[in-house]
Amino acid sequence: MVQKALEKAEDEAQKVLTHAKEVSRIPVVQPVAKDMERSVTIAERSVNLGNLARKMELFLSNPSLTKIIFTEQDFNNELDLREVKMRAAERRYGVDAPILIIANEKGARKHVEELETKAEKRIAEKSEKEEKGFFEKIGSWFKKVDDFLASSLNFLKYLDPTRYLNYINPLYHSNDEMNKEISTNWLTKDYLGEVSERFARTPPYLSVEDRSFFDKGDDSWGRDRNSVGLYFHDTNHIFISEEVRIENDRRKTITHEQLHYASFLGGGHSIRFLEEGRDSPREFGDVKWLHEGLTELHAQQLVRAHGYPPGYVSYPAETTTGFYMQQLVGEEALRKAYLTGDFTEVRDIINKKLGEGTFEALLKMDKGVEALKFLVEKLKAIGIDTSEWNKNVIVSRAGAI
C-alpha cells in the first residue's frame, strides 16, 4: 500500500516538475493560470530549498501549499520518512493524507550524465572536423564548452540547482564556496551578534543565473535590465547575475544579499526605538533608503576588510549617508541597529549631537540624497567638518558628495 502511494506520488511529482520545466522559477505574474502558478511555486520552493527541515518549516507554515517534494538525499541526511509524514499529515490533513512526494533524483542524475556524454561526443566529433588552425581550434573549444554548459544548465534549472551545478560547473562551484566562506568566515558570531545562531542554522541558498532569468524578473516588476542580485524572503534564496564577473564585485554582491537576510532575521527591516517616558517602542517600519545604504556600507566594509575591494559602490547617496551616521554613532552601535531594527542608541546619539528630532526627520526622507542633504546641512550648522570623512575610499568611490 505504501509502495502504491509512493508510485502515485512520484507520478504527481513528475507533473509538477514538468510545469516547473516550462516556466521560469520566478513566477510569471500574468497571465499564468492560478493552478499552474501554484504548482510551479510549490516545485520551485521544494527543489530550491536546501534542506529538509527548512522545507518542512515552509510547508507547515504556509496553508496554500498542498504538496511537498522531498528527495532521497533528504532522508539519507535527516529525518525518518515516517516522522515527516506524521508531522505534516497530523498538522494539515489527518494521518492518512497522501501528501508526500519523492522526486526521482536517480532519474535526474542519469539525465545529467547522458547530457554530459552527449556533449563530450559532440565535442569530439566537432574537433575532428574543425582542425584548421590553432586559433580556430581555441575558439571552437570555447564555443563547445559554452554549448555544453548551456545545454546542461538549461536542464538543471528546474532541478535541485546547487547539487548538480556544483557537480558540473567550476564557476558555480566557486560561487557556492564563496557563499559558504562569506556566511561562515565573514558573518561570524562576533559580527552578527544575537542573529548569528539563527543565521548559522539556516544560511541563505545561492544560485547564479544568466541574464534571461533576471530579465524575466525585471519584466515582472518593471525594471530595465538592471537587476543583478535578488533575495527572496520566503525561500531564503539569493540569486546573483552571472554578469557580475569580477570576483571582488561578486563577493560584494553576495555579501550585500546575505546581509539583507541577516538583518531580515534579526528584525532589522523594521526600524523602531524607545523614547523616554514610553513603555513600547515607536515603530517606523521599513525605511528603504536607510536599509539599502547600511546594507551596502557594511558589505563594502566587509569585503574591503577581507582584501577584496570592489570596483563600484551601489546606492551612492544612501551609502554615504550611512557612512556619516556611522562616524557619528560608532560602528558597533550602527551595526547592531541595522541587524536588529532597534535604533534607540543610534537615535539618542544623533539627536544629542545634531539636535532633538533630527533622527526622526531623517527617517521621514524619501530617498538617500534628501537625507544626505539634510545631514550635511545639520553637520555644517554645528561646525562638524566632513572633509576627512569624504576622503574615505567608500565615500570617494560613491561620488555622491
Binding site: E292, D366, L372
Partner: protein, 82 residues
C-alpha cells in the same frame, strides 16, 4: 554637479513628483492599475537611465522600492531587488 546639486533641477523635481504619484496609486491599486504603474515607471526610468545616469543613481532606490511593491502586490511575495 554633485548629487545634492542635482536636487535643484527641474528634472529632479518632476521625477520626484512622479514617484510620489506612483506610490500613492499603488497604495490603493487593483491588479490592472498595478500593471499600468509598472509600465509607466519602466518607460520613465529606462529613459532616465539612458539620458542621465547621475539622476538615475538618485532615483534607483525609488525604482527598486516601486518594483518590490509591484511584485508584492501581484504575487503576495516579498523580494529584495538590487
Amino acid at each position: 554637479m554633485s548629487l545634492i546639486e542635482l536636487m535643484k533641477t527641474k528634472e529632479y523635481k518632476d521625477a520626484d513628483k512622479k514617484v510620489k504619484d506612483w506610490k500613492e496609486r499603488l497604495s490603493k491599486a487593483n491588479n490592472s492599475e498595478v500593471m499600468k504603474v509598472k509600465d509607466e515607471k519602466l518607460a520613465f526610468f529606462s529613459e532616465m537611465r539612458k539620458s542621465n545616469q547621475d539622476l538615475y543613481s538618485i532615483f534607483e532606490i525609488n525604482d527598486k522600492e516601486l518594483s518590490e511593491l509591484i511584485y508584492e502586490k501581484l504575487t503576495g511575495k516579498k523580494v529584495i531587488i538590487d
